[in-house]
Amino acid sequence: MALSSPEKYGAKSAATVTERLSSGKRHLGDSVVEIGLLAALMSALLILLVLILSVLENAWPILSTRFGDFLSSGLDASDAANAGVWQAMRGTLTMAIIVSLVAFPLGVACAVYLEEYAGKSLLARLTRINVRNLAGVPSIVYGILGLAVFVKFAGGFTGGRTVIAGGLTLSVLVLPIVIITASEALRAVPRSIREGALGVGATQWETIRSHVLPAAAPGILTGTVLSLSRAAGEAAPLLLVGGVTGLLTTGNQGLWEQITQGGFTSMPVAIFSYARQTGADFREVTGAASLVLLVLVVLINAIAILLRNRFEKRW
């Protein structure tokens, strides 16, 4: 009897058995250890709570007086009373679109190759190891890659230190995450689905297109949306490919000029810039900008979780 199995019988019954076996006594030492472990978990939750409250507290003066104005005003390094995050939000949005257009198709295609075509070949194994290693490369190293490849080498195409170079750098950064999550989603599709399609004469590509991909779509979508939130919160690589930190007034041009002429920024880069300004006024500005980014990221994550719950299938 698997009485201890938390899945089958619940930890409660296991605790009951433990208690019976020890003739009804709770052992003090054991309780102390359990409380210690619980305290570790609770301190993680406490940190999260304090973080949110602290950001809220710092953001409150702006939140309660001129929040709409804050969202629509431009970046400003000299006057905290007029500073906002408009260009930063626009930059983050533009780069999110680029990431969706570049990293998602590429990542899903790579995952389809790994799970549907490659099997256990040497190339597939090497690719998996390579992707896992890429996922662990520090984000600032991707900044160096972006600087060398997208800013310098392909500068004719991207226009140098522009939002396009930034978006492409972020795409490369989240690519391994997209591949890993999409692979997991494809692996969760049962063999019988594929065999059914192949059995009625569909080619492998037809099977993938009309059976495997639709079945895996919710999982793939969740993973890709989560990688978008990672891209939206990343600042380090953008500092190297030209995210504007000093001249906070740039990026006021129209969207097209911004894309082609450079001078881009994003929410995390703007927060970094504001955090480096001195003075209590700018502490409030930084707090408000942090709050906007936190809400944005949590919103993206919530959408991902909702999508998963809405479309999740159990086979």
Partner: protein
């Protein structure tokens, strides 16, 4: 169609090769041109051509050490509790909350470090700590970022330990705590070590928290005092990149960016390789 998907897979190798090529090529260029005594001097001042890499490595080690002091007890404790003690319902609620921590952008944690951690914890409890920026506050914030990685990898490892082992232990009359620490923990030890290694790799590579909270952006003297501003490999790279040193674009100082990048890449690559091996060993055993 297969060719199309194959191309996508090959792209990942192109990315790795481009990273290695860029780093090696320019790091070598720096290494050849730099006066060798500049690599072992008083501190890291790229503008004045002091490239003392040990200043940066010690800074990174201090931040990582402090981060691990915070993240290991909280991360491992949470993992053990979630895997061995929490009832399924409790686990279902608490686990996502820990996962939210991993979604918090690092710039926000950097801001949290200077607006809350430093004034309320570091300066209050440690006399003489720098009131604006110091390594300790940055280390604590990096530790917070590391908690969810350690928790999730270690919890996976502990849950991968088959129930038969727990049942055998209960059957011999061992209580839950003894079972957890004498049976389950040793069985999942390679996964737990992997969690620590991957957490360490993340802490070393963290940039924005340190760039915001550790101060010393332009450079720093060699120092082992965690309560003073300091410089890490990652923060030094960020500083060179956005040009607060006025060196962006060219010259030896800018090339040093690639040199640090190369050192950082090698360190995290080795850590990730070992961590990944250990994670898969747990899976193969059971």
């Amino acid at each position: 169609m297969k060719a199309f998907f194959l191309t996508a897979a090959v792209t990942t190798f192109v990315i790795t090769l481009l990273i290695i090529y860029t780093l090696v090529n320019d790091a070598w260029g720096f290494f050849v041109n730099v006066p060798k005594d500049a690599l072992w001097s008083l501190g890291w001042f790229p503008r004045r051509e002091f490239f003392d890499i040990k200043t940066l490595i010690m800074g990174s080690l201090m931040v990582t050490g402090i981060a691990m002091l915070i993240a290991v007890p909280i991360g491992l404790g949470s993992a053990i509790y979630l895997s061995e003690f929490a009832r399924p319902k409790v686990r279902k609620i608490l686990k996502p909350v820990v996962e939210i921590l991993s979604g918090i952008p690092s710039v926000v944690l950097g801001y949290f470090a200077i607006s809350f951690i430093n004034p309320n914890l570091i300066v209050r409890f440690f006399d003489g700590a720098n009131k604006a920026f110091n390594i300790a506050a940055a280390g604590v914030a990096v530790g917070i970022l590391t908690i969810p990685i350690i928790t999730s990898v270690a919890e996976d490892a502990l849950r991968a330990v088959p129930n038969a082992l727990r049942e055998a232990s209960f059957g011999l009359g061992a209580r839950r705590v003894a079972t957890t620490f004498r049976v389950v923990f040793p069985a999942g030890i390679s996964g737990v070590v992997a969690a620590l290694i991957l957490g360490m790799s993340r802490a070393i590579g963290e940039t924005m928290v340190v760039a915001i909270a550790a101060g010393a952006v332009g450079g720093g003297l060699f120092s082992l005092d965690p309560f003073q501003p300091g410089q890490t490999m990652t923060a030094a790279m960020a500083a060179l990149g956005f040009g607060s040193d006025q060196v962006a674009g060219s010259g030896l100082a800018f090339q040093s960016l690639y040199f640090i990048g190369f050192v950082l890449f090698v360190i995290t690559f080795l850590l990730n390789l070992v961590g990944d091996r250990l994670v898969r060993r747990v899976r193969e055993e059971y």
